[in-house]
């Protein structure tokens, strides 16, 4: 993402996107509920779709109203949703988080979190590499001890744990 001026959306644009998304969700919910049956059944009263169908309708109305509001106020809502200078810091945490979750699926949460914590600290903080390594390792070992040993809650594990025989 470049940090040029005018590259970030305005509040009005974001309001518009979110309210239209609400309409879309509302339509989806109403459609699926209608498919299931949104009416009255002689044996079990309101059908499965009865309640959600009406929720969907309310959501469509609210979303439409909000998008109309965003449209009328688009000249006023020119303030940036996010300042260009803020995009980078937010992405510095958001992107690695997505990778962390991806890697967790392969390597288990202990290894993934060690890599994530270490990488993040090296990249963001002006810290010595050995400090980052220490924090990353201590964090994973502590998690392992607390969850696996102390409270008997199993977390996702991967090849490294198998290799270590844990």
């Amino acid at each position: 993402m470049s940090s040029d001026r005018n590259t970030t959306p305005s509040m009005g644009t974001m309001e518009m996107i979110v309210s239209l998304a609400l309409v879309a969700v509302g339509l989806l919910v109403a459609w699926d509920s209608y498919r299931l049956g949104a009416g009255w059944s002689e044996t079990s009263g309101p059908r499965s779709g009865y309640f959600p169908f009406r929720l969907g309708l309310i959501l469509i109305v609210c979303g439409a109203w909000l998008s109309g509001q965003a449209f009328w106020k688009r000249q006023v809502l020119t303030q940036r949703f996010i300042e260009p200078a803020q995009v980078r810091p937010v992405l510095t945490v958001a992107i690695p988080t997505v990778f962390f979750v991806l890697v967790t699926q392969w390597l288990g949460i202990y290894v993934a979190s060690a890599i994530f914590v270490f990488g993040f600290m090296i990249y963001v903080g002006p810290l010595a590499w050995w400090k980052c390594l220490l924090v990353a390792l201590v964090n994973s070992v502590l998690l392992f001890y607390l969850f696996e040993k102390r409270f008997f809650v199993l977390l996702p594990k991967g090849a490294v744990e198998r290799w270590l025989g844990l």
Binding site: M14, E15, L36, L59, C62, W65, L143, L146, L155
Partner: protein, 513 residues
Amino acid sequence: MDELHLLFAGFQTALTPYNVWLMLLGIGMGVLVGVLPGLGGPNGVAILLPLTFTMAQSLEGRTSAIILLSCIYWGALFGGAITSILFNIPGEAWSVATTFDGHPMAQQGRAGEALTAAFTGSFLGAFFSVVIITFAAPFVAKFALKFGPPAFFAVYFLSFASFAGTSRSGYAKTVAATVLGFVGAAVGLDTITGQIRLTFGSESLLNGIDFLVAVIGLFGLGEIFLSMEEGLAFRGKSAKLEFNVVLRTWRQMPRYWKTVLQSCLIGAWMGIKPGGAIAASFMSYAVAKRTSGKPEEFGTGRIEGVIAPETAAHAAGTSALLPMLTLGIPGSGTAAVLLGGLIMWGLQPGPLLFIEQKEFVWGLIASMYLGNVAGLIVVLATVPLFAAILRVPFSIIAPIIVVVSAVGAYTVHGSMFDIWLMLICGVVGYVFKKLDYPLAPLTLALVLGDKTEDAFRQSLLGSQGNLGVFFAKPLEATLMTAGILLLVMPLISRVRKQSRLAKENAAAAIVRE
């Protein structure tokens, strides 16, 4: 005095060495959670909830587990004040008002005084509300025993309507957020007909959207993204809490009995309604300012300006547990998570709890007394420690909070899908916060969605589809009418305002012609 008898039995349950240790542990974790950005009452308790699953398999275990969780809650309430006063960063939304006078006091070198006043006020507020819970809860529960499905639906309806009626976020946004929460709750298996709803063929969605996962994402990750924007450089005042400062402040406290009392009343009253703690702290601050005689000095470091919001926030946070225990309706986000915990342990919050689980309920109430005493002592003793934690660079804290959140989301059902769900909720939470969509009613709807729908459908089934069932008896009719009024009032006042504006415009146009 049946209550006192039961309460003493409760003290016996709560005062075992193991439970006292859990109290101290809970308070410590709670303060930590309250102090760190990105962790707060709701998601802090949500993350730690799965740890109690193994604990909660026996009756005594369940009492210990709720003591641990509720003490995390008290700790988080205390912790919010520390960051507000020392760093001018409210750890929780209800401590925003505490920054107004608390931080100026810290800048004048009176941090110790401000902290002592905040903690003592918190303690008094919580104590006041616990006393109310002790005597009012059994009464409310007895009353609620007679509630049928229509009455329960009416109570739910009123709680949600009060959000729309009083929210500062704008009407349509509040309604949209609430409905979105209901939609999330409806996903998955319909417990009445056994049909599968809104999964769109996804197997992972069969279990539904767990509100614990949603809370961790909405509040935890969303908050981390927001904190990153700010760049987060903590520049705080150092905190040394000397014992003689504490004593000196305590000697001053009786002078402010009026502020304390009115804040207690405001807090206890507001807390019973959903989302009350935040409103209570602001309201109490405003009232203290107006009744002080020197409103212009507020904001420059008046001690009442710290006492008032903290006392009210704690009173509200505590009284939020009254409707949770007696009606199964949580008065705050954290109370909602606690409620979720009870349900997961196989307890059914509501009037029957007071009959079927006497020991559990009274153990919890007794632990509220003890937990707050323990909390006061712990926070007074450990402020420097927590202030030091805040000086740890954010580049260390942020990834660890992300990891802990992911662990918390995974452990709810042991499913990888929930971590992805948490991530999505994090983005939603971030965007919603920036666009001022309220998260509190969304969470509450996620928690209560199924119960509200069940109550609605059972009522209609009983009445053969006649909506009049909600107005058939005086109780239901009153609650429903109050709810409808709350829902409709903002619309009417807006239409009025607009028609007045239109008239004025028309008049102006005529004048111009």
